[in-house]
Subunit: 196 residues, 2 copies
Amino acid sequence: MSLQHALLGVLEARAMSGYDLARFFDGSSGWVWSAPQSQIYPILRRMEEAGLIQGDDELRGPRLTRTVYTVTPKGVAELRHWLGTAAKPTPVRDHMLLQALHFDMIEPDAAHAVLEQFITEQEKAAEEADAHRDRLLQHDTPLLRERLSQRESADHKRIVQLKAHVFAGMAAVARTRAEWAREGQRLLIAQEPEAD
Amino acid sequence: MSLQHALLGVLEARAMSGYDLARFFDGSSGWVWSAPQSQIYPILRRMEEAGLIQGDDELRGPRLTRTVYTVTPKGVAELRHWLGTAAKPTPVRDHMLLQALHFDMIEPDAAHAVLEQFITEQEKAAEEADAHRDRLLQHDTPLLRERLSQRESADHKRIVQLKAHVFAGMAAVARTRAEWAREGQRLLIAQEPEAD
DNA sequence: CACTACATGTAACTAGTTACATGATTCG
DNA sequence: CGAATCATGTAACTAGTTACATGTAGTG
């Protein structure tokens, strides 16, 4: 379900083709949701059947067309309803913690290296999230500008702060994880069996 | 793949039946991985075919048997190998952050309520993780005792500290998320359009 | 003309979810 | 005897992954 709402969320700002959306969500950027291209196209057709979005064909050359999707009023209503509904807690499934649970079974060096890579990833994620947060605060992303252009100026500050806060949260969680992993590395080293 | 390793991790401490494992992983406890019962039984058979575990039938009455699984040497080797291998970063997919991204589209009160429930969940998760951490530090869980009984006493402190650290990490992340959500609530309230 | 980007799809697969089905044993 | 617990499964489904397939249009 969530991918549908993620798609509604970006289409609400600007009409886009499947190709645009695929680039937006695939692997990519400092974003809170990701999905491969192969998931995007089928779900767009399902959403159109359900009346949440509407696809309009645009000519991009004599033989090439693209389908640009717009959110319908029904789609906006669905998005709003979902936004106000608390989700049930997701089952715990943390790859790194699962691995760390049994670090006592392998060489401290090997465990240390696994944590090292994890730290690098988390710090990179934190920096990217912060960078995106800064861009939002400076109104420096195309999608945000389109959103704001549809809203009253008096609300702009509020909107930007709320969105920026999401990326501050991403960064905070990533840094907490990195700090946890560093503490794990200290435990691994401190407790290595003494030579001699 | 991860569920397999989660299963190997607990079976390495103690031989268990599918039923035991299902109770262990289903919804349930202060654990880092969860899986429904319907996923457990098929995967156990696949793992036995792959030679990672071995199932032995035990009689539990004239007509009732249970299959108790033990990790094979091959299973231990696989677990150790996986433990020393860094996983590629998981694609971002955070339900709460996705919702929060568009909180400007709904009533502040509704968004506040969604965050409130999230905070309650995160704080509960943090407390459970800390409680489990304390139990580990006091050697107060059956599985940990079985693990330690198979290891040298000199290593016990190290093993316990490493495992306890995992649950400290869970708690820390949950608290970071809760604190983020509280800050979000402050933003929602502070910026509500002034009456009059 | 080759390369990149645009544009849309399908097939086969693994993982996880929800719900149902069946029977045995233990305990009050 | 009825209820809870033990014990093992299957079916149908949604979500996500990996890899492939096909053709168009713009750029150097």
